[in-house]
């Protein structure tokens, strides 16, 4: 069996495509985040401090919006691993950003249950409204558009995650309105999870 040479390979050769992280400003945890990391580290055996790496990276991302090269160096020192090991982890997990992102990161679920309910057209509508392609940030630095894989809210398809919150049942026709609402009302524009009935009441 051979791969036939005439096949038009639209995505090019499969390469690893390492993106060098943005170095950013010098980084240090705020005293609150340092205290939080110290508390989290107590959940694991003392000789297994590396387990606190993912929580530490979440703290970085909350503090500066993404995880810069300087921050990776800082976290490596704080945890006791090498910067390469930190970059290894940051580059693996989809929820860690090594490049700056917009104030609102719109993550459209593209996997089957959402796609059967029009997720492709939600992305298309958001893309047209913001004038950017998935993976890009708009010129105002307000919005980043991403396509992500299954978010685990398939009964409320199509689902869009806006930073840490869910926006459920977003019809393609309402996608542009979500952008306007986010501009006007901020994070209150998202519906949140339907199971948080107390919050909705």
């Amino acid at each position: 069996m051979t791969f036939h040479p005439k096949m038009p390979y639209d995505t090019g050769l499969h390469t690893s495509g390492r993106r060098v992280p943005e170095q950013g400003e010098p980084f240090a945890f705020t005293p609150e985040n340092q205290a939080r990391l110290d508390e989290i580290a107590t959940r694991y055996p003392p000789e297994r401090r590396r387990s606190a790496l993912l929580p530490a990276l979440y703290l970085v991302q909350r503090q500066q919006g993404y995880i810069s090269g300087h921050a990776m160096q800082y976290v490596a020192d704080a945890i006791g691993v090498t910067p390469a090991e930190v970059e290894d982890v940051v580059s693996y997990y989809a929820m860690f950003y090594s490049q700056p992102v917009g104030k609102y990161v719109l993550q459209v679920c593209r996997t089957l249950s959402c796609a059967l309910n029009g997720a492709e057209r939600v992305t298309e509508a958001l893309s047209a409204k913001l004038g950017i392609k998935p993976g890009e940030t708009d010129s105002t630095g307000m919005f980043t558009l991403m396509e992500v894989e299954c978010l685990g809210a398939c009964d409320r398809a199509p689902v869009v995650m806006v930073n840490d919150d869910w926006h459920e049942c977003l019809k393609p026709g309402d996608a542009a309105k979500l952008v306007d609402d986010l501009r006007a009302k901020g994070p209150d524009a998202v519906t949140g999870c339907h199971l948080c009935i107390e919050k909705r009441a």
Partner: protein, 428 residues
């Protein structure tokens, strides 16, 4: 005999996640009773119930607990697998968000049974608000003495911690979960040794799905015979089904495994919406082969669906109506697997990339007949050649659609376009 929900009986009540409401429904009674038994007796009880792992593999939970060496000098751990990333699955979300104390109680009983003092709940990063609910529940339970030091004066110490993942499907595979929990990339380990012997930090570890652990308290309070009798032979207990896609009422439904797939789709989820006809069902998450409408009168149990040629998996039913192009659906799922392959094993990493290229080529109308053989050949070179079941999972959508819908693939190739461009899709 009408079936009374066991796991989700009060999840729609306001404040169902609080300790007070949960206590009103008998929370921590299973733990209290388990602590009066010997640990070995708890394991025997769970074994006798026949509880099978709800994460996908269906492996008996009691046996898993029994594999943990009793004389090990190392600390032992219980990990609750709350990574819930299989496309179409959203059942553990309901349990953790609306009935978190049931999950915590299950973790604590597992800790007592195998002799662990610490349990980690590995929750997927996207469940941010759910992690907050769990952490609140742990703090409440600890403050009132249901968790923590010397529970019910029995001498049992049990701490439970929530550990957030960061967006990796592979972290739901048990050895990759342990790697992620240790602060590394979520990539599977070579087995043996199995995690029950060499698991987290090299110590004996039990890893169970959220729903599996949530079933344990009722097994203790109501007895293994009651549990086993709820369903068909070897498929006992209540089961949560996630139904999504082209149905009128998508959602999580609790039923026994005597229910048929057709009943779940038609009676529970309200049937196919907009008066359309059923075309295919993926019965257990995207990693399971598709079923055709004439096969869905089987029991939605591990053995029932296996007999019908597929798998119950995580009981995530993705329902597709007759407007769905199956080549597009297969390409959508392979896109998922290509993105989520951890990259450790070459057949899975490269195979997913090639399968996606070939599927997209066919879907946009540039396919040739020999591409179908190529697709089949690539898929057959992935199965059984990877460290974890991801490889087998990613070929299921391709091989099963090729088997049942080969005519659709051929129509794409002959017509040079997609014959079924549904209006809910984008024009390419």
């Amino acid at each position: 005999m009408a079936f009374e929900p066991v796991l989700t009986s009060f999840v729609r009540e306001p404040n169902s996640f609080t300790l007070d409401v949960a206590l009103g429904h008998g929370a921590y009674e299973g733990l209290r009773q388990a602590l009066t038994m010997a640990p070995a007796q708890v394991i025997e009880t769970v074994k006798a119930s026949g509880l099978r792992g709800r994460g996908g593999a269906g492996f008996p939970a009691g046996m898993k607990w029994g594999f943990v060496p009793k004389d090990s000098a190392k600390p032992k751990y219980v990990c609750c697998n709350a990574d819930e990333s299989e496309p179409g699955t959203f059942k553990d979300h309901v349990l953790m968000e609306r009935n978190p104390h049931l999950v915590l109680e299950g973790c604590a009983i597992a800790c007592y049974a195998i002799g662990a003092k610490v349990s980690y709940i590995y929750i997927r990063g996207e469940f941010h608000h759910v992690a907050d609910v769990l952490e609140g529940a742990i703090a409440d339970a600890k403050a009132r003495g249901y968790l923590g030091h010397n529970i019910f004066g029995s001498g049992l110490d049990c701490d439970i911690f929530v550990h957030r993942g960061a967006g990796a499907y592979e972290a739901g595979e048990e050895s990759a979960l342990l790697e992620s929990l240790e602060g590394k990339r979520a990539q599977p380990r070579l087995r043996p040794p199995f995690p029950a012997v060499v698991g987290l930090y090299g110590c004996p570890t039990v890893i169970n799905n959220v729903e599996t652990l949530a079933n344990v308290p009722a097994i203790i309070t109501r007895g293994p015979e009651w549990f086993a009798a709820l369903g068909p032979d070897k498929n006992g207990g209540p089961k949560l089904y996630c139904i999504s896609g082209h149905v009128a009422r998508p959602g999580v439904y609790e039923a026994t495994m005597r229910t048929t797939v057709r009943q779940l789709i038609d009676d529970y989820a309200g049937g196919i919406r907009n008066g359309r006809a059923l075309k295919a069902v993926i019965p257990g998450g995207s990693s399971t082969p598709v079923m055709l409408p004439d096969a869905i009168d089987c029991e939605a149990s591990y053995d029932g669906i296996a007999k019908a040629g597929s798998m119950l998996g995580s009981a995530a039913m993705i329902v597709m109506d007759d407007s769905t192009c199956m080549v597009w659906a297969a390409a959508n799922l392979i896109h998922f697997y290509r993105h989520e392959s951890c990259g450790k094993c070459t057949p899975c990493r490269e195979g997913a990339d090639w399968m996606l290229k070939i599927l997209l080529k066919i879907e946009r109308g540039d396919g040739e007949m020999r591409d179908l053989d190529l697709l089949q050949s690539v898929a057959n070179n992935i199965t059984g050649k990877t460290l974890c079941p991801f490889g087998d999972a990613e070929v299921a959508p391709v091989l099963s659609t090729l088997q049942h819908f080969r005519h659709e693939y051929e129509a794409h190739i002959r017509q040079g376009r997609c014959p079924l461009p549904a209006d809910w899709r984008c024009s390419p």
